[in-house]
Symmetry: C2
Subunit: 618 residues, 2 copies
Amino acid sequence: MVRRYLEVRSLQESLKILTTGFVCSASKVQVPLISSVGRVTAEPIFARYSVPEVHLAAMDGIAVVSAETEGASEQRPVMLEHAVRVNTGNIVPPEYDAVIMIEDVNVEGDQFRIRRAVPPWQHIRPAGEDIGETEMAIPSYHRIRPGDLGALAAYGITHVNVLTVKIGLIPTGSELVPHGTAPAPGQVVESNTVMAEAMLGTLGASCTRYPMVRDDPETIKKAVREAVEENDLVIVSAGSSAGTRDFTAEVIRELGEVLVHGIAIKPGKPAIIGRVDGKPVIGMPGYPLSALTILREIVIPFLDTCGLPVPLTGVVDGCLTVPVAKEVGTDEFILCAVGRIGDRFVVSPLSRGAGVQMSAVRSNAVLMVPSVTEGFEAGQEVRVTLSVSRAEAESSLLITGSHDPVLDHLADILSRQGIRLHSTHVGSMGGILAIRKNECHAAPMHLLAKDGQYNIPFLKKYLPGEEIILVCVAEREQGIVSREEIHLNDLPRYRFVNRQKGSGTRMLLDYELKRAGIDPADIRGYNREVTTHLAVALAVKTGEAEAGMCVYSAARALGLPFVPVGTERYEIAIRREHLDDPRVRALIRAISSPEFKADLIRLGGYYTKETGVQRRLP
Amino acid sequence: MVRRYLEVRSLQESLKILTTGFVCSASKVQVPLISSVGRVTAEPIFARYSVPEVHLAAMDGIAVVSAETEGASEQRPVMLEHAVRVNTGNIVPPEYDAVIMIEDVNVEGDQFRIRRAVPPWQHIRPAGEDIGETEMAIPSYHRIRPGDLGALAAYGITHVNVLTVKIGLIPTGSELVPHGTAPAPGQVVESNTVMAEAMLGTLGASCTRYPMVRDDPETIKKAVREAVEENDLVIVSAGSSAGTRDFTAEVIRELGEVLVHGIAIKPGKPAIIGRVDGKPVIGMPGYPLSALTILREIVIPFLDTCGLPVPLTGVVDGCLTVPVAKEVGTDEFILCAVGRIGDRFVVSPLSRGAGVQMSAVRSNAVLMVPSVTEGFEAGQEVRVTLSVSRAEAESSLLITGSHDPVLDHLADILSRQGIRLHSTHVGSMGGILAIRKNECHAAPMHLLAKDGQYNIPFLKKYLPGEEIILVCVAEREQGIVSREEIHLNDLPRYRFVNRQKGSGTRMLLDYELKRAGIDPADIRGYNREVTTHLAVALAVKTGEAEAGMCVYSAARALGLPFVPVGTERYEIAIRREHLDDPRVRALIRAISSPEFKADLIRLGGYYTKETGVQRRLP
């Protein structure tokens, strides 16, 4: 039996159904001031008393009647009889109206000689200087900042009424194991409600994660009924699609009403909006990035309309590095890495797989491709919403080209300096293209020319006349990874896994196959492509392939035998104009650092003699 | 006895002494993943296993051998015998290499009829698609975001090693009462360590607030000794100056060494950097904004060099609204309200009083006026560091002009819409000037002309030909606030407190005095100026003055008698070009809202007949 969605609704329609169909308003909860940072005030906060409550001395000195100082000068000092010694912060007795600094006073017994007249109210902090009794210190709907706390404490505030929405999170799925348990093959760690609690909790929602329930309608129904009773909003994680083992829609329908099943967004289409006992019940898809999208685009805007405000996000306009194609009729949300190259922002889309959570980790922005379009072209200016501060987005170092696991170690070193390295794996030729379009700060590559030279012949050909610096990362060994020490000459006898066209590794393989007189057509799996060294090793480890080509460190990481094929020069190309960019300078420093060399040696298969050596073009 | 600072050091020197004089490095502490949001990773996080670990079906359908589907078409369907039913997320058995969606299959008993050939790996999530075993998910020094948590949970991470620095906070001062106790006059709530804990704790420091100690060298010494033993860094709050009751420097000198006493910054000069048992001990001044400045400019940069990274802050360039004068030789830090007017940012400095904590609450940026300058001129372009996101700074609504307590209630209404109202009280004439220079969105005013008209004659005179909209906030009663129902004609018999020159209230007073034939010179305190209605009422309540002029709501808030003098039109002037600004539109809507009218009636002394009525110029 094939079940279908009732009717797929647009994002806008779905949000309207949610925001107009429910009376959900954030409730007040009292928290101690000390733990109120990041929470949102439910009502204005008024000062309990004036600060200061009475006039205070602002300096160490003497309190005086200003009128009595009239006429005092160097030539004609005045001796004050009605003054009194005060320290900073002391009460100025009501009969006085000014303070003279002790440095300007000659103390003579009980009397004070002064040499300058002072105006009334000099060096006095008048009552209410900071705030007056009953005055509003902070309005409603204000997200409390650390710097607000000192003031509120001083104004007599010990507890704050803040806003919250109670949200019940129900994880469903027979394949789930709880967070902290290692999953057997085919099992999945229940992580979506962990993410939901973190995202919604940060906004001020009070989340309850209910125990996991297996794919059984009666059990799910019981859990939903309980959660609806105890919360303002319920999110059922997974089972929201229209498959034979998806029960969320059926359960909501039996307990109440399904208002929307299927939203025209990607990822996240199999979402549900339902109503049970007058409360909203959201069916959140099980794919992590679908879940993330539903949280970000449906649940969080809904919380905002419930009165739990959402921090404003920044937007930037940037140049799209690759084309983005999609079907008309769906709003698609694509996670991106955004960085500033020269004086413009560059937007680099990340993997669109709904199961690829690393895209969320790697991203700093999200691009919305609207329903009515078929996508965007490469080079087009697009507007993205930042998920980090603009300053942090500007600190991104964009690296595009050939992949090597040591890039992660460079990222780790740079992270200590506040620089976030975003690397896109498009192979060495893709890197040259990115340099040509000035869409990255640096492009790692290892392209072997017919004359045995690395990289320079290709840069000369594809970037003629451009000023380029090549920084050597390392000379590294490539070889055949397998479970039984397979040699290059034996490849036609085994199932192979290849790297993508345009990658240096693929070109090295083709070069070596040709030298060995082997026809690629004789190798099974030659057309099966993956994009990283570790993916090659992993395909071998899982039995998907029997052999592949990768760097030594990837084979070693998974404990697989490795038969060297050749040593190549892995270099990073940088446009000369970016050499003054502090991020690029930090990258070059990181490559030459002893720490990085130690990493290379520890990982194995890298020769560090050339590490940090620079070559220049033209 | 007058004690002086040893030698005042520049901010830069002081920071250098601190960062080069100590070996302080952040330590690792393990926290559960669930509570790791906002913390900074102490080391890279690697995936414990691949996700997925084996090939999974990406769709509900059948797992097939792709080669067996070759040649299938609508005309020549193929019957598959070696296929098997799979649901999304199920393991694809090793003998299969593709999945066909169930919608494209005719199920006939144990067999499946298909009408289209499929390529290998269609609808399969390959092992390691998200991340490979051993791959780095997150580098060191990464501040964990809510969106990272799902991925980390899925990759088998249950605990995270994060960075921290242990900081001991010692509040000193005999005048202190603990947070939560109402201070008697002359007492102060101990709020600086509350603020320090919030600011430093947010960055990941582990703060311990020690019990308050009174101004006694031996007691302070004991507390410092204990705190130094238990922490990486100790901050002694207050007592850091060179007065007779300031013991921090003496205590540090006896226990160790004073490296710096007196830093050439304002506010915050009386700061101390000392060393006890090889650990840094900071003497933090007692004035709240001095303390804030030392935390922000000294302690936080030091934490960064200890390896506890500080989030990047944004900067914007904006036009300064008023001149800022200072002495050469001191780096001065001025809290500001920044907003966007048209296409430029405007920077409005807040009160520079070191005791005015409301400046911290009201500010969204900090302006540094460097040591070598005497200040900046009005209209000069200056660079400020934002303390909020750029998006939030852009949401500011800047209001400059005459003060009325109801502005706080408008702020409260607008806050719900994510708009932050910053109001600067410079009197009605100051507001006209701000409108002329286009340095605010709106200017509240109540200027009575000789012909009995409000506001328009002044706008015509000072902004000839400009297109201005006036929106009436309310007609409001002004009168004499006192403790014994003093009337205007009796003013010469009492001590008075006045409003500042250029304020509408002062002009109304002068108008009424003239009508009554009273000479201002006969009123004691006529030259004593404060800048808000509540400050007038407060001066009366505390006995500083016996009478003043203010709006009814201010008198009522403090429970004081009020004798009406006149009713005036309190309007907000807006340049017509800003009418399309969403913040300005929201302001106009807020003024006309029933909620605001209810506020006016509740506060008392406002007539709402004209509320929301617009007048246009020219």
